[in-house]
């Protein structure tokens, strides 16, 4: 019979192999699912994974979708390493979008050079504000940050809807719940001509570098690692856990807020009632798929970005429902968590006694 037994030390090879194995299993399951839905699996997989990035524009779109995922997942990975679970990044993204977009609309029609920097700062601050309450309640009342940060997502979405119906609605619009279009000066510059790839992608790469330095070369990074791997050792060493909670929540909230204002000042170009297709939740998958490591997160975000594009493409070309994307992403995380068993344990074949 098959049985699992613990390895003496975690396998480094398996740490890297598990995501690839999980991807392969997800694709195989996807093919089965497509045939079950009555589609030719080969063609459906082509529309999903190859079609969207077969030209320059498609590759740039992958970057457009990956940028917010990278920013959010980087922040989340710091908390997850320390066993601190901010799962409300979607709310922090939405509030960052509100604050950043709100600044641009308040200054309308002013179009100066400092509008965009101010928007970005407001977006980061908005994300931090939205992350502050879960961090405060966790450090002050020991309240589960999982539940409070998640409740804040629903509240942020309602705040945005409220503002779209009222304060920030386009006064010249035909009662559509949307803001005015942002002025050109309030939009992130395009970094690849004739595509939608904007400066946010560069922010994402820069953030990956900064997070890598933080985790690899600073005391804070070391404290985060110890707090996650050996909480008791961290306590005996006198590491301030509350400080780590605040720090990880502020970084992840700020980065999610930046991702939010990046959407408003990037591909969307205005405030709308729904500013994200669930990037804040999907980034959780990105963080795990990327092994909570900055380089891994960048690669994982590209894969997940492809799944968004693939879902849209398969809907247009193969008539598949858009919800397939969510199923794929959930499956991928399932398989990944299952494959991760190979890091700590090995599977042995034993004859039954």
């Amino acid at each position: 019979m098959l049985r699992i037994e613990p390895r003496p030390t975690p396998s480094r090879r398996m740490t890297l192999a598990a995501p690839l194995l999980a991807l392969a299993l997800t694709v195989a399951t996807g093919a089965t699912l497509f045939s079950a839905l009555g589609h030719d699996p080969g063609a459906a997989l082509y529309h999903f994974f190859v079609g969207p990035i077969s030209d320059r524009y498609g590759l740039a779109e992958m970057g457009v979708k990956a940028a917010p995922l990278i920013l959010i997942a980087l922040g989340l990975s710091l908390g997850f390493r320390a066993g601190i679970w901010n799962i409300g990044a979607e709310g922090q993204l939405i509030f960052g979008a509100i604050c950043g977009g709100g600044v641009a609309l308040a200054l309308y029609p002013y179009d100066g050079a400092w509008v965009l920097p101010l928007m970005l700062v407001a977006g980061v601050a908005g994300g931090m504000v939205w992350a502050a309450l879960p961090a405060l309640l966790r450090t002050w009342r020991n309240t589960s940050e999982i539940l409070t940060s998640l409740m804040m997502v629903y509240i942020a979405a309602l705040v945005l809807r409220l503002l779209m119906n009222d304060l920030l609605r386009d006064p010249d619009g035909f009662s559509f719940p949307e803001s005015r279009l942002l002025t050109n000066g309030a939009l992130l510059p395009i970094i690849l001509s004739e595509t939608r790839l904007h400066l946010g992608a560069a922010f994402a790469i820069a953030a990956a570098l900064l997070v890598w330095i933080l985790t690899r070369h600073t005391l804070i990074g070391f404290q985060i690692k110890v707090a996650g791997l050996a909480p008791n050792a961290a306590r005996y060493a006198g590491f301030d856990h509350n400080r780590l909670i605040w720090l990880t929540f502020m970084i992840s909230g700020g980065l999610a807020g930046l991702a939010g204002v990046g959407e408003v000042a990037g591909p969307i170009g205005q405030l709308v009632p729904v500013v994200s297709p669930g990037y804040g939740f999907t980034a959780i998958i990105v963080a795990f798929l990327g092994r909570l490591h900055p380089v891994g997160i960048v690669l994982a975000a590209l894969v997940i970005a492809l799944s968004y594009l693939g879902g849209e493409n398969a809907q247009i070309n193969a008539g598949l429902p858009l919800a397939v994307t969510g199923v794929f992403q959930g499956l991928l995380l399932f398989f990944l968590l299952a494959c991760d068993v190979l890091i700590q344990y090995r599977i042995r074949w034993r004859r039954a006694p």
């Binding site: 613990p6 020991n142 539940l147 409740m151 309602l158 429902p321 919800a323 969510g326 995380l333 968590l337």
Partner: protein, 290 residues
């Protein structure tokens, strides 16, 4: 008469929360934290709805919802019991997967009407009473039976329970499956009696509120039941304020009430003393060889 109607609508708003929170309570009492309640409720809602929309009796629909919840829960069980995976991450995966899969299989049923579960007494349907009966039954089972004692022992100290000869993984598997079935039942109640319609993401965070209720109720069935009814009344208050139009408050702010109430309640009640009532082994993986 209106007071009576309000009481009835509170009971209907509370019932899905009662089912889901009681299921999660049993799971957590066995030492397993399943954050996938939202996903399991959505799968229960869509499967129950499809069964009834295809002409089945509502009892079959409710059973289909429970079965769907249990099936999804078995995936979670495979991960955390079979592969000793992290419970928090696995629960999140379950919610993401359940949200996507329910949207996928329910896409053809959006806007389809079904017959509401018929009322039997005081204008209330049998599921309302079933939820009340379940909470009494679970309380009795947990505190007055040998099996209930074993379940609690597994949740408090899995190693000791194992040393006593109890199969920890089997107990946890059954507790996870039961929790999934109850969540599915709660979801099916939403789509078959409360709305009664199917819409993507229709649970709107009720799965997470159910998780908060377990903490609020200090892992005790009676207090979880009271908490669910309190939350039901917050929801009904919001609906009445919205429909009466007496208050000049935008509907979005009223819709925030249940979420704000959840945060407030958690902040007020999760003192250290309250948390010391949590099952001691909650969230810890168990492996026979460790």
């Amino acid at each position: 008469m209106t007071d009576f109607l309000i009481l009835g609508s509170i009971a209907m708003a509370a019932t899905p929360l009662v089912f889901a929170a009681l299921g999660e309570l049993v799971t957590e009492r066995a030492g397993v934290l399943n954050l996938g309640v939202e996903g399991m409720m959505l799968m229960g809602a869509v499967c129950g709805f499809i069964a009834v929309a295809s002409g089945a009796h509502w009892i079959v629909g409710a059973a289909a919802g429970a079965l769907a919840g249990a099936c999804l829960a078995s995936l979670f069980a495979a991960l955390v019991l079979g592969f000793a995976a992290n419970q928090v991450a696995s629960g999140l995966a379950l919610t993401i997967f359940g949200t996507g899969l329910s949207a996928l299989i329910g896409s053809n049923y959006v806007g389809t009407p079904v017959d509401k579960i018929p009322a039997v007494l005081w204008g209330l349907d049998p599921m309302v009473f079933a939820a009340l009966a379940m909470s009494a039954a679970i309380a009795l089972w947990l505190y007055r039976t040998r099996q209930g004692l074993i379940l609690r022992a597994v949740g408090e100290n899995a190693e000791a329970a194992h040393a006593h000869g109890h199969t920890v993984l089997k107990v946890r598997l059954l507790a996870i499956m039961f929790g999934g079935a109850m969540s599915g039942l709660g979801g099916a109640y939403l789509s078959l009696a409360y709305t009664p319609l199917w819409a993507e993401g229709m649970t709107a965070g009720r799965g997470w509120i159910a998780l908060a209720l377990v903490v609020f109720g200090a892992w005790r069935p009676g207090r979880v039941l009271i908490g669910a009814y309190l939350f039901g009344s917050v929801g009904v208050l919001q609906l009445h304020a919205q429909s009466s139009g007496l208050l000049a408050i935008p509907s979005e702010i009223l819709s925030m009430l249940p979420y704000i109430a959840t945060i407030a309640v958690l902040a007020l009640l999760t003192t250290r003393q309250q948390q010391s009532r949590a099952p001691a082994a909650l969230g810890q993986a168990f492996h026979r060889l460790r």
